[in-house]
């Protein structure tokens, strides 16, 4: 006489534990850890028998339960003479996590009901094609005031007096980042073609890469070799040579 093990799908170890607690009709604040641990492990074994993979989180919880069980088995040493100290229940943290999860699990069920109700309402099937105009700006400058404008302008002029304008070409990709990229590409490679380095680069990235290479040459990290006029430019790493020779 066989019986069918009903394999329920649990969202995770909390879900499984909550189900075991409900089935055993026990108080969540007073979980019989020994019983629940046994049933929890049984469930995992049943999965194993079915050759089902057990997610790591379930195993972590199993070890937590076993640790809890052994802690509860150890006799508590009553503090003699002193006023009775409230021992922290070792199960407390787990229960709080379970309750927290339980709330969201129930909210998810509430949301599923909302969805079932909402999906019975249908919106209109066709959009009226004609209203694809550009946005208008009711307040084209937002909260900007005249004084703001004057201030901004004043600052700009003051800045300009101080120093000659410098074009920030590389606002998106500072040269430091480019240098890091080139270094990264050179890891474990004796040489790299300049062209390969520029693949898929925007113009400002190309300029940035070029400057990065000059900087790396200056730092003595690389040398740049060109076989002939208009030939492939090859970037060679000194660091790699050092690595190989050492």
């Amino acid at each position: 006489m066989g019986y069918v093990v009903k394999l329920e799908v649990y969202q995770g170890p909390f879900d499984l534990l909550l189900d075991l607690i409900a089935k055993n009709e026990v108080d969540i604040w007073d979980i019989p850890i020994a019983v629940i641990t046994e049933q929890y492990l049984e469930y995992l074994y049943s999965l194993q028998e079915k050759d089902l993979a057990i997610a790591g989180e379930f195993l972590v919880m199993a070890s937590t339960l076993i640790r809890l069980k052994s802690r509860l088995l150890l006799p508590q040493q009553p503090a003699q003479g002193e006023e009775e100290q409230e021992e922290e229940d070792p199960r407390r943290e787990l229960v709080e996590q379970l309750l927290r999860y339980k709330f969201f699990k129930e909210t998810a069920q509430f949301l599923e009901e909302c969805y079932r109700a909402a999906s019975r309402y249908y919106t209109k099937g066709q959009s009226l094609e004609v209203y694809n105009l550009k946005p208008i700006y009711a307040r084209p400058v937002g909260d900007l005031t005249l004084d703001d404008l004057r201030e901004v302008y004043g600052h700009l002029r003051a800045e300009q007096e101080k120093e000659a304008p410098v074009h920030e070409i590389f606002s998106r990709m500072p040269i430091q980042e480019r240098i890091a990229l080139v270094r990264l590409r050179l890891v474990g490679t004796p040489r790299l073609s300049f062209r390969a380095l520029l693949k898929d680069c925007t113009p400002s990235e190309i300029v940035g890469t070029f400057l990065a290479i000059l900087e790396l040459v200056r730092l003595g990290e690389i040398r740049v070799v060109q076989s002939g006029l208009f030939g492939e430019i090859s970037i060679q790493s000194y660091l790699w040579e050092v690595e190989v020779n050492s």
Binding site: F103, K105, E112, A117, A118, S119, Y121
Partner: protein
């Protein structure tokens, strides 16, 4: 503009809009008080009492929809399901984000007790959540929040329609 004319215009606007229209948005277009808009929407609902349509409040806006009892008939049209149901994992993840936003992936996983990256990427892809910033601290992890589409998916007028969270229940 008489109130009756205003009522007709509001009906037209709600019908034609591609997304739920708030009383404020309608009010701005028509130069009307949002509370007047609300009252007129109520009138429109009444006028449609014996018809197929109604106006529901979803994601903070008004949207014209068919009455739910017509669903079996509408299904026969074979419209593709716009809002396919979510997996339990995704719904749980959404529930957490709705209450705890802004929240990181690690914090969500802490609550659910399981990895949630595929649920998250599913929700992002469907536009039900979005990145709302970065948390200060190591790695500056992404913070997630729910979108208006979330409310629409579940037919909620706003987040305050979610059940009260009684701490330590």
């Amino acid at each position: 503009m008489t109130l009756a004319e205003a009522r007709v215009i509001i009906e037209g606007l709600i019908f034609a809009a591609e997304k739920p229209l708030s009383a404020k948005e309608i009010g701005e277009i028509m130069e009307l008080d949002p509370s007047t808009v609300d009252a007129l929407v109520e009138e429109i609902r009444k006028k449609h009492a014996d018809g197929a349509l109604t106006i529901r409040l979803v994601a903070g806006g008004y949207q014209m929809v068919t009455k739910p009892e017509l669903a079996p008939w509408i299904e026969q049209l074979g419209r593709p399901v716009v809002h396919a149901p979510l997996s339990t994992a995704a719904t749980e993840t959404l529930a957490i984000i709705a209450y705890e936003q802004p929240i990181t992936r690690a914090e969500i996983e802490q609550i659910r007790g399981v990895r949630s990256d595929s649920a998250l990427s599913n929700l992002l892809e469907r536009g039900l959540i979005c990145e709302v910033g970065r948390k200060e601290g190591p790695g500056r992890p992404i913070l997630y929040g729910v979108t208006e589409k979330f409310l629409e998916h579940f037919g909620l007028a706003g987040l305050d329609e979610l059940p009260l969270k009684s701490i330590g229940q």
